[in-house]
């Protein structure tokens, strides 16, 4: 028992797990996508916290996770990130949690639900894409050289990241005086780890995994999303038996930031209908 608790604390620290909201409520896990960290959910949390227990975390290599736990081998496949999700669920001993994943995290949630079906009872997929690169009749919206361009952009932008800033970004949540220095830090990532996450994300092909989904699933897409076009949202909905697709009147890839009310309404409506 004691050992288990220690392991749980280690995972909580590794993935910078935060738990807020109603401790008695059903658990909703909010998982960030490629780019930034759990701060992306700041406009979502208020809509959930009264009725739900809200769990957030940073994938290893992002945000304020323990960067020393990063391994290129593990995080070169989405399974590695899915194991982060499962381990966080195990550390908190979650049962039938609702997993809300943005962007690539939506697919990571699908994999995690398959790895640990008892942990995840429903999925909300925000702007998901099971494959970003066009493939025969499938239109993901990108070509392989496009993804190389993104990797170049990553190399050109450090967003305040530097070897000197790394320890500050990582380990000092208790030092608010660092706030100014931490500008851009939500998206500041070790460039090597960001490159691995980008490659894993944009070169992944999880189309076949969609068929394995057995839990109630809500798919949210935006009217105009440069990363996950409408065709992809329709593909995801079609591939997951019994899933619901809602098209949010939102532009861009982050409806939870650009159209928070509509996004929250869709999520809470889905949650209310679950039990």
């Amino acid at each position: 028992m004691r050992f288990g608790k220690l392991v749980g604390m280690d995972i909580a620290r590794r993935n910078n797990v935060t738990v807020t909201g109603n401790p008695q409520g059903p658990t909703v896990v909010l998982a960030h996508g490629f780019g930034c960290d759990q701060n992306m959910w700041r406009l979502t949390v208020p809509a959930l916290s009264e009725r739900y227990r809200v769990v957030m975390f940073d994938y290893v290599g992002s945000g304020r996770s323990d960067l020393s736990a990063f391994s290129e081998a593990r995080y070169s496949s989405l399974d590695g990130y899915a194991r982060d999700v499962v381990e966080v669920c195990e550390a908190l001993d979650l049962r039938d949690a609702v997993f809300v994943g943005h962007s690539v995290s939506a697919m990571i949630g699908v994999l995690a639900a398959d790895l640990a079906p008892e942990r995840i009872g429903a999925l909300v997929m925000v702007a998901p894409s099971p494959r970003y690169i066009d493939d025969a009749d499938y239109r993901g919206g990108f070509s392989a050289p496009d993804i190389d361009e993104l990797l170049t952009s990553l190399e050109s932008n450090y967003l305040g990241w530097s070897a000197a800033m790394a320890p500050v970004i990582m380990g000092n949540p208790e030092r608010p005086e660092l706030g100014d220095e931490l500008k851009n830090s939500f998206c500041a990532t070790d460039p090597d780890m960001a490159r691995v996450f980008a490659r894993t994300t944009f070169l992944s092909d999880s189309r076949d995994d969609l068929k394995s989904v057995r839990v109630p699933t809500l798919v949210l897409e935006c009217t105009q999303d440069a990363i996950a076009p409408r065709e992809v949202g329709a593909f995801v909905q079609r591939s997951i038996p019994g899933s619901t697709l809602i098209t949010l009147d939102a532009i861009g890839h982050c409806p939870h930031l650009s159209a928070p009310e509509a996004t929250n309404e869709a999520i809470t409506g889905f949650l209310a209908g679950l039990r």
């Binding site: 780019g35 170049t152 952009s153 050109s156 851009n184």
Partner: protein, 463 residues
């Protein structure tokens, strides 16, 4: 501010009058003290200067040395300046109200915008100095640095995004040089690490060929060995071996090649295989060392790079009837072997007059004989042990006498125990042990003359 700095003209009856072209006045500021009135003589040149500065806000905007655009929160471009349109080769009509900011970006830039730029701008209200690439009408790409701020309404609601765009072509070219340099350095480092790993693997294989993997069981005896390499590439100049020469006798040797590292290892290899072959031909210790002497001298003396070694070579002849083992031993310039007796004494077995092996064309070696009774152990070692530096300042050599005293303490114990004790001693030397060291103990078990049941009669390690 564009003040002219002229003195007040005392002749001017209306000191409050401002020149028409004063841009401050045009801008409606009221910081003017009303004291600078143009002198007649300066009026013409000042007017020209002022005309130069006659930047309407619009002209400042349109012709600014940076791109400037405003967009709605959904990214739709509402306003864009001429500078940026010219850079991109676009018409205003095609852009305003029709294009989104992301439409101006390359695909990679678009992905970066959606995953980093836009979320950060939403969360922070501003973002600065982001490197992106814009698409020019002719298909070329233009590296830029982009900064944006969100303008909020009275109720804190976001209204629009203002963005400046700086030409970063030269800067990006330079950064790309740096990135290329860094990548080349990383690639070189990876290559070097791979080479190093490969080399170490090769060295390990070579090193294994210099020492026996395990010692063969010698009937009626127990053997133990220890090996320490001081060289970081783990190639040592010390060597030892035990091997059968015929049905009943075993040969053994232990020695030390001058030098360390790969050069020493090459001599070690030649020495080991020469002694093995020589012993099969004639196992008499003096004959084996003489053969080695000839081979080393022939091989190395002519090249102007003489290589030599010290070595002890011996033959074990167990007598199953008595349980005793007769040892004939010869030495070429090597420290004398120690014999640890069952009665708790330890003494050197003198082999006087033996010369370094390989120095002279004809070397003289001297043989000695001893008999090991149950409980006795013969200990061979290299001078790494006796020349280990001890004391606080590491300025005293461990020495023969100290070794003999140490051996006396352990006399009567089994070879394995003796080697274990010596290994502990080597550990205690720490950095005082700076030369390769080989240890070989050959003993007759005290209680039981049959082969030692210990499944692991040899200890061999490197540190």
């Amino acid at each position: 501010m564009c003040r002219t700095g002229r003195q007040t003209d005392p002749a001017d009856p209306h000191p409050d009058t401002r020149t028409d072209t004063d841009p401050d006045t045009a801008a409606g500021t009221d910081t003017d003290t009303g004291t600078d009135v143009e002198a007649d003589s300066g009026k013409a040149s000042n007017a020209a200067f002022a005309a130069l500065l006659e930047d309407s806000a619009e002209d400042l905007y349109e012709s600014a040395p940076c791109g400037y655009l405003s967009m709605l929160m959904d990214g739709t471009i509402a306003k864009i300046n001429t500078t940026l349109l010219d850079w991109l080769g676009l018409d205003r009509e095609a852009v305003v109200g029709r294009m989104r900011f992301t439409d101006l970006l390359t695909v990679g830039g678009k992905l970066y915008h959606e995953t980093h730029f836009a979320p950060l701008l939403r969360m922070q209200g501003r973002i600065g100095g982001i490197a992106l690439e814009m698409k020019q009408a002719d298909g070329a790409r233009m590296p830029v640095l982009v900064s944006s701020v969100v303008k909020y309404g009275g109720g804190g609601e976001p209204l629009l995004i203002r963005t400046t765009v700086f030409d970063a072509r030269d800067r990006r070219a330079y950064e790309e040089e740096l990135l290329r340099g860094r990548k080349a350095a990383e690639e070189a480092r990876r290559q070097a690490e791979a080479d190093r790993a490969r080399l170490q693997e090769a060295l390990a294989v070579l090193q294994q060929s210099l020492l026996p993997a395990t010692l063969p069981p010698v009937p009626g005896m127990e053997t133990a060995a220890h090996y320490f390499t001081a060289s970081p590439d783990r190639l040592g100049g010390d060597f030892y071996d035990v091997f059968p020469v015929d049905g009943k006798r075993f040969a053994f040797f232990l020695g030390d090649v001058c030098g360390k590292g790969p050069q020493a290892a090459a001599v070690t290899s030649l020495t080991r295989y020469t002694l093995r072959a020589a012993a099969l031909h004639d196992s008499e210790p003096v004959a084996a060392l003489s053969t080695l002497n000839k081979v080393l001298h022939e091989r190395y003396s002519a090249g102007g790079d003489p290589r030599y070694c010290t070595a002890v070579f011996g033959v074990l002849e167990p007598d199953p009837a008595t349980g005793q083992v007769t040892v004939r031993i010869a030495s070429g310039g090597h420290p004398p072997a120690l014999v640890l007796r069952a009665d708790g004494t330890a003494d050197f077995l003198p082999t006087p007059g033996g010369l370094l092996v390989g120095v002279l064309p004809d070397a003289r070696f001297v043989a000695a004989t001893t008999v090991l009774a149950p409980g006795d152990t013969l200990l061979l070692y290299t001078d790494g042990l006796t020349e280990a530096r001890t004391g606080e300042d590491r300025d005293t050599l461990y020495g023969d006498e100290a070794l003999r005293a140490f051996a006396t303490e352990h006399a009567g114990r089994r070879p394995q125990a003796v080697i274990q004790a010596l290994t502990g001693l080597l550990d205690e030397f720490g950095d005082g042990l700076d030369d390769d060291t080989a240890l070989l103990a050959l003993g007759v078990p005290a209680s039981d003359p049959v082969p030692d049941p210990d499944p692991d009669p040899a200890t061999k390690s490197t540190r």
